[in-house]
Symmetry: C3
Subunit: 320 residues, 3 copies
């Protein structure tokens, strides 16, 4: 689909907290605009449509990709940023409350991008801040902008998302991108989801309920072997050690590893995704296989998708 100037912008001044809020038209819009941003970034590096706008990057957890792609996206569009990476130097150290901190940054910035280890804090920030808040990951909750880059990556690589067979492999319980992506996939007809995980870290029940309520077909498996030759997307996750007990970690750690032997069983027209960082879940020998999109396309698409989203949240109409 081609992006045109006349498309209606559904995101102006909106908070982005959960992919549950996306309707199909929102996704169609943002994927089209992401393609347009990709073209612009590739040809010109960027375009200054967000001059004199400021993004506050409030990251209570480490981040390489999400932090960098957000502030890079902002600057490629001509905007500025407040880097609060780790929050160690803020007044939280003096005992200030979360609520006052959010109100504070909302006074200086035009948009707040928040990462926090606790589920629901992004929603809380959105309720408090007069400016839009974008959830850059809230604990084991959601990661609704990772979801946009993932959808774009799938569509870009395979032409369409409709009817695909998508397997999610690994620690699905603690892995927020899985929650956001699975929920967004309900808008695409005939998608089949396979949740493949070691015992104890299966997909969350509230996500299952959401999918059932939206008539989404899904299966839970303990091994990916039987479906490997049939799936279009293998979406691999990291064991989120920092979110689990040592016992559970010992039990789950190393339970899955994608190597070339496995990849060779996959269809030629399939892709392997991983939001990264990886801790050995995908063998480095796989990196050079053309099915592996995690190291380049998936990451770069994160920047393009965030350019699209920031422009849409901050401008009534995105004319580029």
């Amino acid at each position: 689909m081609v992006y045109t100037k006349t498309m209606n912008n559904p995101f102006f001044q909106k908070d982005i907290v959960s992919s549950e809020e996306y309707i199909k038209d929102d996704i169609t819009y943002i994927l089209a605009l992401t393609q347009r941003m990709k073209d612009i970034a590739t040809k010109f590096g960027g375009v200054s449509i967000l001059s004199h706008k400021i993004l506050a990057a409030l990251f209570f957890e480490p981040s390489s990709r999400t932090f960098s792609s957000f502030i890079t996206a902002m600057q490629r569009l001509g905007g500025g940023f407040i880097p609060m990476h780790g929050m160690a130097h803020t007044s939280l150290q003096k005992g200030e409350t979360f609520d006052d901190t959010i109100q504070t940054f909302a006074n200086y910035a035009d948009v707040i991008v928040l990462r926090h280890p606790d589920v629901g804090l992004a929603q809380r920030a959105a309720d408090i801040a007069p400016c839009p808040v974008i959830n850059a990951g809230d604990g084991i909750g959601e990661h609704p902008t990772q979801c946009l880059q993932d959808l774009f990556t799938i569509q870009d690589a395979l032409g369409s998302i409709d009817g695909l067979k998508i397997a999610m492999l690994g620690d699905l319980f603690h892995y927020r991108p899985v929650n956001s992506l699975a929920k967004a996939l309900v808008h695409f007809p005939n998608v089949q989801l396979y949740f493949v995980s070691p015992k104890g870290v299966g997909i969350q029940e509230r996500v299952q309920s959401y999918l059932l309520n939206h008539h989404m077909k899904f299966f839970e498996l303990e091994s990916v072997d039987e479906i490997l030759s049939d799936i279009d997307v293998l979406y691999v996750t990291r064991v989120k050690k920092e979110y689990m007990s040592e016992d559970l970690y010992a039990q789950v750690q190393g339970a899955y590893k994608v190597d070339m032997e496995m990849v060779k069983k996959m269809k030629k027209q399939s892709i392997i995704m991983h939001p990264f960082p990886r801790l050995g879940e995908i063998d480095e020998a796989v990196d050079n296989d053309e099915r592996a999109v995690y190291l380049r396309d998936q990451m770069k698409n994160g920047m393009y998708a965030r350019m699209a989203l920031l422009a849409s949240v901050l401008l009534p109409e995105v004319s580029i």
Copy 2:
């Protein structure tokens, strides 16, 4: 008063270390330009008059508001910045002296903004650096840019500063914004100051001397009750735990708290200010009262005032 292009800029290439240096015309000028910056920021986000200028933000102490409003102000005016928040990654870690560090950043930046826990270090930096140095708080010394946003906030909310009754409540001994504001208020006729503080944390003697020398009327009290219905401004402070002994903290902590019961006794045409962060000195129930200006106006005005000051320090003439 309306800002016009023909106003003389008194701040070009000047250091801003203490509010003692402001004369009345300086304040008149900067408040008028702050209003202009507020108009511009509100309508357009900013204006690129500081392109290719760089601000070095050297913060030896945590800061949310001062750090963010300075780098936001700089970027809204088209300038760039060096974020040295916490100083942990500088050569101070290798044993470099303060003096060499200041000289270093003065080579790359057009203006240095410095926060430091020790009184007098801002003046020392100003003496060393060839470029202008702005004091963003030096221990229990001064905070001369907080003072500007406070003056603007008062004038903006109440129309004029002349003749107002202003009470400062709390730990006044360790709270630098109080020092800077009290000294600047000597330029406004018939202002009456009330310093209300628990024992042991009263207003510093050198500030009292300054006020007496400048014929400023002030009173010291231990309770705000008797003047509450009469004052125009209630300026609340935080107990600066990090600057006092544990004994003193135990004695002072929790000694005052502004709640709605108190606020109801205040005049309708009065305001409650706090430079923040707060640690319980103002009940959150007060936030929604229209007299409470601390969460929005006072913070935002900090950005506008710093836009005005940065432009004036870096440009011979501010024509906007």
Copy 3:
């Protein structure tokens, strides 16, 4: 030499890892462009030729001058940056590999500037990243951009580098700028090098081999006294405590200190350099002597040289 638009740019999309890679024409080009950048920065602050380009500053070690001059240079040319100072907030904390981290930032940035405590990691990053990588110091290896500012400083102060007598004093074994500068000096006819160091921290053997292979004349001494009145450049270094054993540090520490008594023995037309930080190797009384170029020219030239290099790496032709 005057920079002209028609000069061929030898650095476009190149990695800058070691000064061994510079040929004489490269140096001639970059010194001429550095002069041009100095003129522009002095007159206008900068020029926006790198709009929508992004620099990722990945610093695994503390840095004041290199970090600041790089991000300042980038912003003075209109570009943006990703500040990863200390790397504490990246996914390295979650266990991500160096290789994956480099690949990640290469997806968002147009150029990576890397400082790392281990020799060879800059080369490794350059091998991995699709975008150019600039070595901002790799352990006791190289510092090839410090070398450019040093060459410019010498030429600017003394007119020409040819035929000069240059003494390097101090811990030469652990001090990477010395390695890069010595190697680059092989391109200048009749330069004589004197390596003056306490026992145990002499110039590295592999550097000596390089110089011998390139027919460079050099001498090793334990005292600078006998050559002091004869040299054109005294290049002083810091004892790199963080790279040596406690025993070696105890032995080397305080072994040399440049004071006014020594400086008075030097020629009027000579200069004293130090890449900084200093830890007492040069007495502060020397700072005001006109031979001392370390506190202003040498640092500022770092910014100009990096403006020249960044523009050249990122643009096919630098027309300014």
